[in-house]
């Protein structure tokens, strides 16, 4: 199963790779990274019918925002699940994300335990 993490902070990649080290090692999970919304869309578009099943995206990014990316993905690849990760856990962002079709909303600092549960659910459902 492949997931895509979108965040403008490069160290997020290392963090996720370390956090899901076991899952990645056992090839149960494949994680790819994009550092902007534009890059994420490009990556999804290039693979034709993308094998990515879940996108986790930051909201506040330079250029395309996470919410814009959410609507773009939902219109082009409605089957891909998208959740938002944001430092701003305010009601406004939350409401907009959920109404645009986000599956979940995580606030920073990311509670990796709940994220792991979310991903484990996906893995067992497969």
């Amino acid at each position: 199963m492949k997931i895509l993490i979108v965040d403008d902070e490069q160290d997020v990649e290392i963090m996720f790779l370390q956090k899901f080290r076991k899952e990645i090692k056992s090839k149960r999970l494949e994680v790819s990274f994009a550092f902007s919304g534009e890059q994420a869309l490009a990556m999804l578009g290039n693979s034709g019918s993308p094998d990515v099943v879940y996108v986790f995206s930051d909201i506040n990014m330079p250029g395309m925002s996470g919410l814009e990316l959410l609507s773009a993905i939902k219109s082009r690849f409605p089957h891909i699940l998208v959740s938002m990760i944001s430092a701003y856990g305010d009601r406004d962002n939350y409401n907009r994300a959920i109404s645009s079709g986000a599956k979940g909303f995580f606030t920073k600092p990311v509670d990796f335990d709940s994220l792991k549960i979310e991903i484990a659910e996906l893995l067992t459902n497969q």
């Binding site: 902070e9 160290d11 963090m15 370390q18 956090k19 430092a87 305010d90 009601r91 406004d92 920073k108 600092p109 990311v110 990796f112």
Partner: protein
């Protein structure tokens, strides 16, 4: 003889009459009275020709002479000089007649014609002098009227002057009181301006604080997450270690790993401390988010003062404190962001507990820590008060209490954000927060919220 006395009588009568217009001394009045009586008696004697006629005639001359003398030699009567000399020629002719007739009637027969002629002249003189006197009197009268008029005008001017002075005094008083009012308004404005500047400073400090928090939050998340990850890895490493055969190097590695583990624990601990500060700082930017709902303020206070008390009891250094709730049960529901406002109650109570803990450490054993929470319906506003009998706040730090990061607590005990956030939250409710305190006695936080 009758003529002479008539002259005396009319002179005296004239004098008496004119005494109405002028004030004469008392003795003059007596003279006039007795003189008129004497004249009257002499006239009567003259009519009946009572003997000895010669003596009475002499007396008549003495009387008229005395009257003329009085008029000429009394300062008060000096204005009547013309009148006094009017009858003089007549009196002279009569006196001459009387002397000649008495001494030698023979000579009188010879000079009678001359004397008659002199009498006529004397009469003409008298009439002239009389007219002259009338004219003088008129002039004096006119002068008197003019003086009187001038005096009247002077009096009027004086009165007007007085009136003006009173008016000026009144106006001055009014202006002075207006000045005082203005001064008061000015002072009031100044203090309001100072308060506004203070509020503005606090608000910008709050914004700055929130801005800083946002900037720090992301890197701090990495610090915390990576240290957490490293702790996990160390756990895995220590699970793998028994599989490696023992050796002095392994001993050393295990020792070092133990140190790294403890270091990571410290990083994690201080990282989460920084994280809780950052989260408090972010509270500054929370104004506007969250919803304002009609809330039972009394219930909120009951719940959160209970929570604050038990929270304090569960933490290190608990104290015994008497919490009194004086809640106005008629209080209507108030539009509040309940989540934010509960923080206000928690912060103020925590603040009171900390202050009273300090006092408990220094004050004698009969000091009983006591905090009172009050609510009151003030019509268009709602009052919430938290008052403790702690050590109070010294004047020099009172103004700093609401600033972010200002704390009197030692070391890592306080972030200096509690009251600053409290102030922000009250502000976001369009309320006011005031502090009154007396050192050694009490500290009272007064919150006024609009009802809306």
């Amino acid at each position: 003889m009758i003529l002479i006395n008539l002259i005396s009588l009319s002179l005296l009568y004239y004098l008496k009459k004119s005494s109405g217009a002028r004030e004469f001394p008392e003795h003059l009045h007596r003279y006039f009275k007795y003189g008129m009586i004497a004249a009257g008696v002499l006239i009567a004697l003259g009519i009946v020709h009572a003997p000895p006629e010669i003596l009475f005639e002499l007396l008549s001359f003495v009387l008229v002479g005395a009257v003329v003398y009085l008029m000429l030699n009394t300062p008060e009567l000096s204005y009547l000089k013309t009148l006094a000399i009017t009858p003089l020629p007549i009196i002279g002719v009569r006196l001459l007649e009387y002397v000649i007739k008495t001494l030698s009637p023979a000579i009188f027969d010879i000079v009678e014609n001359y004397l008659d002629a002199a009498g006529v002249f004397a009469f003409i003189w008298a009439v002239t002098m009389w007219l002259n006197h009338r004219k003088q009197m008129k002039e004096i009268e006119i002068e008197r009227i003019i003086t009187k008029e001038q005096e009247r005008q002077l009096r009027t001017t004086e009165e007007q002057k007085n009136q003006l002075e009173t008016l000026v005094a009144e106006r001055t008083k009014e202006i002075l009181s207006q000045k005082e009012e203005l001064q008061y308004a000015l002072d009031h404005l100044r203090s309001t301006q100072e308060q506004l500047i203070q509020q503005e400073k606090l608000a910008s400090l709050g914004q700055l604080t929130a801005g800083i928090a946002h900037e720090i939050k992301n890197p701090l998340n990495f610090v915390n997450n990576f240290s957490e990850l490293s702790v996990d890895f160390l756990q895995e490493i220590s699970e793998e270690m028994p599989k490696i055969p023992d050796s002095p190097e392994k001993e050393n590695i295990l020792d070092l790993l133990e140190n790294v583990k403890s270091n990571l624990g410290k990083i994690r601990h201080h990282g989460s401390r920084a994280d809780s500060i950052v989260r408090s700082m972010l509270m500054h930017s929370r104004g506007g988010s969250g919803t304002m709902d009609p809330t039972d303020l009394n219930a909120l206070i009951r719940e959160y003062s209970n929570l604050a008390f038990h929270g304090m009891r569960a933490n290190p250094n608990p104290i015994n404190v008497d919490i009194q709730l004086s809640l106005d049960e008629t209080l209507p529901k108030v539009k509040l962001n309940a989540e934010d406002f509960s923080r206000v109650i928690l912060n103020l109570l925590k603040n009171a507990f900390d202050a009273m803990r300090d006092k408990l450490a220094t004050a004698g054993s009969d000091y009983k820590a006591r905090v009172e929470v009050r609510t009151q319906d003030l019509g268009d506003k709602v009052l919430v008060e938290v008052e403790d009998n702690g050590p109070g706040v010294p004047d020099h730090i009172k103004d700093k209490l609401l600033m972010p990061f200002f704390t009197t607590k030692k070391g890592t005990e306080g972030t200096g954000l509690g009251l600053s956030i409290t102030h922000d939250i009250v502000n976001s409710h369009e309320g006011t927060l005031e502090i009154s305190t007396e050192e050694g006695k009490f500290t009272r936080f007064t919150i006024l919220l609009p009802k809306r």
